[in-house]
């Protein structure tokens, strides 16, 4: 058992006939994922990367039993694509598309949730469980099966860190790139319980960024509910204060949102804090050695 995806996960790629859709269908298949269907309205009946293409998700589900969706359709149509996936009964949608208006995501998130479906993303690299399945775009080369879980708000930085873990001779259980948009389908707090109960994860790497309060929320959760060791890294420690969102935004994240508040919260919750990405593998290895000794 891994987190969210299994070897049995059957993926439908929405927007499969686009460049990214096609490229990553190939990559997912190379990873060993069962990509069973693609959807592009009007292109039903064709084939992409040996994958049958349907006009609608409903048909794809009826014909192939797809139970996870990977969405590449352009931002203006992403909301529709997600709603179609949810209404077709698919319980998991990874949205790779970037630049989706957050007002659209508000509807997508709350609707999916009310229907019992989970969104990962948008603007995210997706999920991968080495040796099982990948739904998304994380490069295959960074993975190696193992017992380190990774959750991250970043894209390429996740690849960097996951790769670092591999190069250190360790491997990953499941890696989830959550995306860093204002409204995400799954936040650290939503993902943590999944790793907590995953028997294949021994310890967790959490990769955050400045802005928002997701890391502070995560720290709160870790303090009270998460029993596995955590290694945390927050990118942007030295970033100059960004352009502010306006006063009201500051009111919401009052006294939160900086690298300092995030790092303090995570350290306070018992996480080991890495100051730079390349420190993560050492910290992970140290904990793993300690676990092996017990």
């Amino acid at each position: 058992m891994s987190v969210l995806v299994e070897a049995t996960t059957k993926v439908v790629v929405q927007g499969i006939t686009g460049h990214q859709g096609t490229v990553h269908t190939r990559q997912m298949r190379a990873f060993g994922t069962a990509v069973v269907a693609g959807v592009t309205p009007g292109k039903g009946g064709t084939t992409v990367e040996e994958t049958p293409v349907f006009d609608s998700v409903r048909e794809a589900v009826e014909k192939t039993g797809a139970n996870a969706s990977c969405i590449f359709v352009p931002a203006p149509f992403a909301k529709d694509a997600l709603l179609e996936s949810v209404d077709a009964g698919i319980p998991l949608a990874v949205i790779v598309t970037e630049h989706i208006p957050f007002h659209d995501m508000l509807v997508m998130y709350h609707y999916a949730r009310s229907r019992g479906a989970r969104i990962i993303g948008p603007n995210c690299p997706g999920i991968a469980a080495p040796g099982k399945a990948k739904v998304g775009i994380i490069p295959n080369v960074v993975f190696r099966p193992g017992r380190v879980g990774v959750i991250s708000r970043s894209g390429t930085l996740t690849y960097e860190i996951v790769n670092g873990i591999k190069e250190h001779g360790l491997g990953q259980s499941t890696c989830i790139g959550l995306g860093g948009d204002p409204v995400v389908g799954t936040s650290f707090v939503d993902a943590l319980p999944l790793f907590e109960k995953d028997p294949e994860t021994d310890l967790l790497v959490l990769v955050g960024e400045i802005g928002g309060t997701a890391e502070e929320d995560a720290a709160e959760y870790i303090r009270h509910h998460f029993t596995k060791p955590v290694v945390a890294y927050i990118a942007g420690r030295s970033a100059p204060p960004g352009k502010r969102m306006g006063h009201a935004g500051a009111i919401i994240s009052r006294g939160k949102g900086t690298a300092e508040t995030k790092l303090a919260a995570l350290e306070g919750a018992g996480a080991k804090v890495a100051r730079f990405p390349y420190e993560i593998p050492d910290l992970v290895a140290e904990i793993a050695r300690g676990q092996a000794r017990r």
């Binding site: 208006p101 007002h103 508000l106 390429t156 409204v183 990769v207 306006g246 009201a248 730079f276």
Partner: protein
């Protein structure tokens, strides 16, 4: 994000029926004077610099005038200002209202709950960040039922409004909620919201429109944030580009990796000055354009730090080599490259053939670029 100047915000307010003072924009002292002489704006009036920064009142960018002559003088003095780095080019003239109270209301997004929040405070007219937490009320608004009656009643209670004023608030909040959604706003803020007689009037308007929703709002396409000329070019080419003080140029892909690179460079004493995020491009031409843009910023050294995913290493390497061929000798810069990930071997080989060595470890490559830029180590 598209921050709208006050007068533009108020144009939108008007569209949604939010009550405003009588007012008009002026772009010269003559025009300002003429507006009051012709009665377009009644006297006495207030003259406000149309800049995006807050704290205009304290900064001399807001003045009152009771006669056309005073209007002209005030306009002249404000139009000359450079306010928090922004030159004042537009003024908003508005009738001065006899108000009995200044309130605060806004709508924005709470990322944690993924819900819009209605923020209300009886302490308007000052920067809301300076108001005590217990004097600020926050109500999450679910997008499905939308803003409800009980939430508006609570807001009225918090603001101490009843009778006609509460009714006025009810209508105003409905309008604000509609505006927030229909205009794809990140923020709609009224501060101060003035109590005038039995009603309410929005004395200021802060509206920020979400960039990602631009495709359904062509009406905002002509509004530009204050960007440097290079930033403007980058925007047109859809390359994320930020200029700050510092002498090291950083080309990376992805915001997280860019920030992490910055953290590492700073650790070793580097001063990164230009950030260029390639994002998820897979087009060598775009990489070349990015490098040429970087060259124009005249960095002391450039650090290329790419982890290939959607962006493949060989694509980046090809684009880089082409760019190096095009950069004029006078604009050349020392380059440290680190390309990892998808098609790494191919990319490294392309660079090697062009005489560029990719340093695989982040720490070592960062140290190398700091040294190349003339810093330690």
């Amino acid at each position: 994000m598209v921050k709208l100047a006050e007068w533009r915000g108020k144009e939108i307010f008007q569209k949604y029926g939010i009550p405003l003072p009588k007012g008009h924009v002026a772009r010269s002292a003559e025009e300002a004077e003429s507006l009051v002489r012709h009665g377009t704006v009644p006297l006495p009036c207030v003259i406000k610099a149309q800049v995006l920064a807050g704290g205009r009142g304290k900064g001399g960018a807001v003045k009152f005038a009771a006669t056309p002559e005073e209007v002209r003088a005030a306009a002249t003095s404000i139009l000359g200002l450079e306010f928090k780095g922004e030159r004042v080019k537009e003024l908003l003239l508005e009738e001065k209202l006899a108000l009995s109270q200044e309130l605060y209301v806004s709508l924005t997004l709470d990322r944690s709950s993924r819900l819009p929040v209605l923020i209300a405070s009886g302490r308007g007219g000052v920067e809301i960040e300076s108001v005590d937490d217990h004097e600020i009320d926050r109500q999450p608004i679910h997008p499905f039922p939308g803003l409800t009656g009980y939430q508006k009643r609570r807001a009225a209670k918090v603001l101490g409004l009843s009778g006609g004023r509460a009714k006025s608030l009810d209508r105003l909040l409905d309008a604000l909620w509609k505006l927030f959604n229909s205009e794809d706003a990140e923020l709609v803020e009224i501060n101060p919201l003035a109590v005038v007689g039995d009603g309410l009037v929005a004395l200021d308007a802060k509206v920020i429109i979400e960039d990602d929703a631009a495709f359904r709002h062509p009406e905002y396409a002509d509004i530009r944030d204050d960007r440097t000329p290079l930033e403007e070019i980058a925007r047109e080419k859809e390359i994320a580009f930020v200029q700050l003080d510092g002498n090291i140029g950083v080309i990376a892909n992805g915001a997280g990796l860019t920030m992490a690179t910055l953290d590492v460079l700073s650790e070793f004493g580097g001063r990164p000055g230009v950030f260029l995020d390639l994002g998820g491009t897979d087009d060598p031409k775009k990489v070349t354009e990015a490098f040429l843009l970087m060259a124009q910023a005249r960095p002391s050294a450039v650090f290329l730090n790419i982890f290939g995913g959607v962006t493949r290493c060989d694509t980046v390497a090809k684009g880089l080599v082409e760019a190096m061929r095009q950069v004029p000798a006078s604009e050349r810069f020392p380059l440290v490259a680190r390309i990892r990930g998808n098609n790494e071997a191919e990319g490294v080989e392309i660079l090697r053939a062009a005489g560029i060595t990719s340093i695989p470890q982040l720490k070592e490559s960062a140290q190398a670029v700091v040294a190349a830029a003339g810093g330690r180590p």
